[in-house]
Symmetry: C2
DNA sequence: ATATATTGCAACGACAAGTTGCATTGTCAA
DNA sequence: TTGACAATGCAACTTGTCGTTGCAATATAT
């Protein structure tokens, strides 16, 4: 979002180029991966000369880092209180699944998985991805504890790994869409497994 | 035997070279990924001239395909009957986790996740990985159903995605080892979540 | 209208990929 | 043992992509 302001003296036709390049970079990340990324392909996809890219982002790392930070992961919908742990999990999972279905989400996930030579970028992607998935969990867990739906012996990271992992497995490995019925089953198992055990 | 055959005339010093190249290829897959794989790096790592690789495997796809099929994923240990669903899950998960901790396992998982230009290889990696993880589940589920530990409404693919996904999340995303305590928690949630619900 | 910054374009050197011809060496078979 | 053959090592070559540079064209703010 954000349109160019008239007071911006020093950026004539920059914004649209930046947007196009960032989008193309995310697309390239999703299709060819972090290590095999080609600036010339990005330039062609963004309909921009490659020199324009090289001038604005001197190194490949800068370009990718910019694109990854360009992805705003806000799962505020995951913060929603539906009245039950099962409902909260369902909303959060759906938000993550929808994000993974976008080119940007796919790109971010793949970049986080890749172990290219530039470990910094992988770490950045991992941080961005973790921020998006782990952040909304705090409120969810607190509410579930309050309702007595969450066994205190289970640390939050465990079911988060299971939920996000299942989504990644379904999307990136099985290459199948996250249907409502499939997600229902996953959340069924999770909610039941998190319930207070005797 | 009776008739003179020159069938085995052609493989003087082949085997050790093949082994070294396959191992180096799996290593390269794990470190640089499928798309950014370099034959020259593999040749250097295997202490073999690059022409030897190019002659034996004409294309890059053939090389990678050979390496992926070279990985024999047999989780027969996952077939073990421990007497309880929880125990069976624990054994299977440990076998998968240990495999993911090896260079070959890491390479296979990464190759399955990557979406390089050669979709065939990704598919092959996915098949190999799925074969290793999904195969032992049949017996496990049957035994759990017999024991009354598995709600018939839950299809086997769902908890399998959750278990394998959690392992992948832990290993490839969090970059943390699969400790016994962490695995205990995961299996706790899974076993409880799979139990017959009223 | 002018100044300034950004973009497009074309050409360039650098470097890795993949190929080819030839010498060397290991292994099988007689 | 020895000859024949296949596999390997080595070096040079072609090709293609990457990233850089100089210059002209163009958009924007003042």
């Amino acid at each position: 979002m954000g349109s160019t302001k008239r007071r911006d003296a020093g950026r004539p036709r920059g914004a649209p180029v930046i947007d196009a390049v960032m989008a193309a970079t995310l697309d390239e990340l999703g299709t060819h991966g972090l290590a095999a990324l080609s600036v010339e392909r990005i330039a062609a996809a963004a309909e921009v000369n490659k020199t324009s890219i090289y001038r604005r982002w001197p190194t490949r790392e800068a370009l990718v880092a910019g694109a990854l930070e360009y992805v705003l992961v806000d799962f505020e919908s995951g913060q929603e209180d539906t009245g039950s742990l099962r409902g909260d999990l369902l909303v959060l999972a759906r938000a993550i699944a929808d994000f993974l279905a976008t080119p940007a989400g796919l790109a971010l996930a793949r970049a986080a998985f890749a172990e290219s030579s530039s470990a910094e970028l992988t770490a950045l992607a991992g941080r961005q991805f973790a921020r998006g998935t782990a952040e909304p969990v705090g409120g969810l867990v607190a509410r579930a504890l309050e309702r007595g739906e969450w066994d205190r012996r289970t640390p939050p990271e465990v079911p988060l790994s299971m939920l996000v992992g299942a989504l990644l497995h379904r999307t990136l490995l099985e290459h199948q869409p996250v249907s409502a019925s499939w997600l229902d089953r996953v959340v069924d198992v999770l909610a039941a497994g998190l319930a207070v055990r005797p």
